[in-house]
């Protein structure tokens, strides 16, 4: 089997976590298929990234060009198409990120090779690449194979593949990539941070949601800190709004908002029928409740049966520590 490409993604001076996950998976697939793992790094100054990804790759292709400071789909597509045509890898692997959604589909059309996106598992079965995807709101798993072809493009779901320690010393090959196109049909005009105030909890990736067990308005401060350290927003169940501890635009549930965050951390929420209707399609749900029998535990992926006043302060501290190192 020919080589495996893994494209490492970076934004505002940091290698994306998902890239470490795809590099780990790529390494495992390459070892199994006894083939080379080539990490592709693209940017204006790729040295720091190249050294980091070298730990997983047999070879690192560092594509440098002054006009590649921001990760933009059009130039990335040009570069990857060139490299793939030149080196004919069997698998091109990248994270299922916002960039990949702009990049992967046109790339697969340009190269006329199959594409599978947001995969939760990738495996080799006697030489064939098999991928698994989670469909129908996470209620069904689908396995796919590919028609015979030279190259297969796969994007991996964030958080599905564990990061393994890399122990290689991949050889770094720097290539310049002059390109004339100005892509002025699609001018990049910079980043915009989401405006604060008037929060729309349906847009938040992380929701720290609080129920009646919070007992007083003042305790919401403690929950706010946890939400901040997680980069998320505070939401709540209906009684909290009834008490006027939080405005109604924070309310999750039938008469509040329906949310689909990546993480829904339910604190002292019993998980009433109306509330669950508003949050059941969260990707991951964690419940902390004193009552082991609380229905929320039937909906949550993880749970702690304990008093939130004990857990939340420690959890906030632990998360802060993990973020620092």
């Amino acid at each position: 089997m020919s080589s495996i490409f893994v494209m490492a993604e970076h934004r505002n001076q940091a290698l994306a976590d998902i890239s470490l996950q795809t590099l780990s998976k790529g390494r495992q697939l390459a070892d199994q298929a006894q083939t080379e793992l080539l990490a592709v790094v693209i940017g204006k100054d790729t040295t720091t990234y190249a050294e980091k990804v070298a730990k997983w790759a047999d070879k690192v292709i560092a594509v440098k060009n002054d006009r590649l400071e921001e990760p933009l789909a059009e130039p990335y597509q040009k570069i990857l198409a060139f490299l793939i045509k030149e080196r004919k890898p069997k698998i091109v692997l990248m994270g299922h990120t916002s960039l990949a959604m702009d990049l992967a589909p046109p790339l697969s059309v340009e190269l006329e090779c199959p594409l599978a996106t947001d995969c939760t598992d990738i495996s080799l079965q006697n030489g064939d690449v098999i991928v698994t995807r989670s469909i129908h709101n996470g209620k069904v798993n689908a396995a796919y194979s590919f028609a015979p072809c030279d190259t297969v493009i796969i994007t991996a779901r964030i958080g599905e593949f564990p990061i393994e320690e890399g122990n290689r010393q991949g050889q770094i090959e720097e290539i310049d990539f002059p390109f004339e196109e100005e892509f002025n049909y699609k001018k990049f005009e910079g980043y915009v941070a989401q405006e604060i105030g008037g929060v729309d909890i349906t847009q938040a990736d992380v929701l720290v949601s609080v129920g009646r067990g919070i007992k007083e308005k003042e305790n919401i401060e403690m929950v706010q800190k946890l939400a901040e350290v997680l980069g998320g927003e505070v939401s709540c169940s209906r009684p909290v709004v009834d008490y006027g501890w939080l405005p109604s635009d924070r309310q999750v549930g039938l008469s509040g908002k329906t949310v689909k965050p990546k993480l829904y951390l339910a604190l002292a929420i019993s998980g009433s029928f109306q509330h669950v209707a508003g949050m059941k399609s969260a990707k991951m749900t964690v419940a902390i409740n004193k009552d082991a029998g609380a229905p929320i535990f039937k909906v949550a992926d993880f749970g702690i049966v304990d008093d939130l006043f004990k857990i939340v302060p420690i959890l906030t501290r632990k998360i802060a520590e993990l973020k620092d190192n």
């Binding site: 009646r212 209906r238 009834d242 006027g244 109604s248 008469s255 029928f273």
Partner: protein, 393 residues
Amino acid sequence: MTLADYKYADTIHRCFRCGYCKFPVNWMDVNNCPAYARFRMETYSCGGRLWLTRAWLSGEIDWSDHLAEILYSCTACKNCEVKCPLRFNVDILNMIIAAKSEMVEAGRIPSSVKKFLENIQRQGNPYGHPRVKRGEWMEGTGIEPYQGHDFLYYVGCVGSYDTRAQEVARALGKVMQKAGVSFGVLGNDENCDGNEVNKLGEETLFEMLAEENVAQFKKLGIQKVVTLSPHSYNAMKNDYPMFNGDFNVMHYIQLLDGLLGDDRLDISGGYNATVTYHDPCFLGRWNNEYEAPRNVLKAIPGIQLIEMERNRDSTLCCGGGGGNFYIDLLGGSERSPARIRVREAHATGAGILAVACPNCLTMFEDAVKAEGLEEELAVRDVSEIVAEACGIK
């Protein structure tokens, strides 16, 4: 959409905004319009709502989310109609509902109303739960699907799907079984009665629901219907005849009143409690049924019935009408009507707040929790009280 083709163009300007509609019939308070009691701004009074409708339809103000919320915070509780001294009072709710229809046809309605109506379009209930789960409430009760029984026992969406209201649906079923009433249910084949859809202004959807229900009832040869909810009772009694659905419809409390009359129900078990009864708008003001619930409660040994200041046609709406039990535009404050009403009930010294409507039931259950009165005031449907008095567990 201009004022010209609005059905009540020649009436809507007649509102003088003199504020009678804010008072209960017996004057026993100031704020009996639930939306005005909740927000206490003139825009939310009935008069404010009519003036804003006219201003919107004549182009003086534009549509906005806020305008839609003002319109949809009207729970169709009919206090304004019974109180307004002017001759056009019979059309007040028609005017508000016609304005809601304008917003429905333009597709621009509050998102919670949109979800409510879409769920009914798809699943026949406002929660959007699958139709195949509508009959789950009756598992283990021995209640049979309707086949030529004397009565159709029509449960409705709230009674079928809301966990707390399901208990009431079961209690009533057992009481009727005990009284030897011949009745059957539609289970998963039961569809929304459309009363709220009608009050929300989705005329065509209401027509479809009514036509389909009438056709279904006729196909099954149903003559008599007993409903759990006053909302279903209202639609079937007052609106279905327009779709030549002329069934003998009664609310369950009228049936119980009759059963107690011919003592087909042994309630000697009694029910020792001080009880205050809340008149649901669609039983009271809409259909003038005030005495049957009181007869039933007074007939039960051990019950001491106390009236709240605002009773009968002066009742304060629980805030759950006009779809608000789900849409809930009046929630989120100690001024929510359900919480005002729960405080009023508690003030009478009663330990039990008796209701005769699943919507009121769910609104007051939440309000009692919000007021922290769980230990002092319990919310019970009259059928649950009768069940206990009959020794049904």
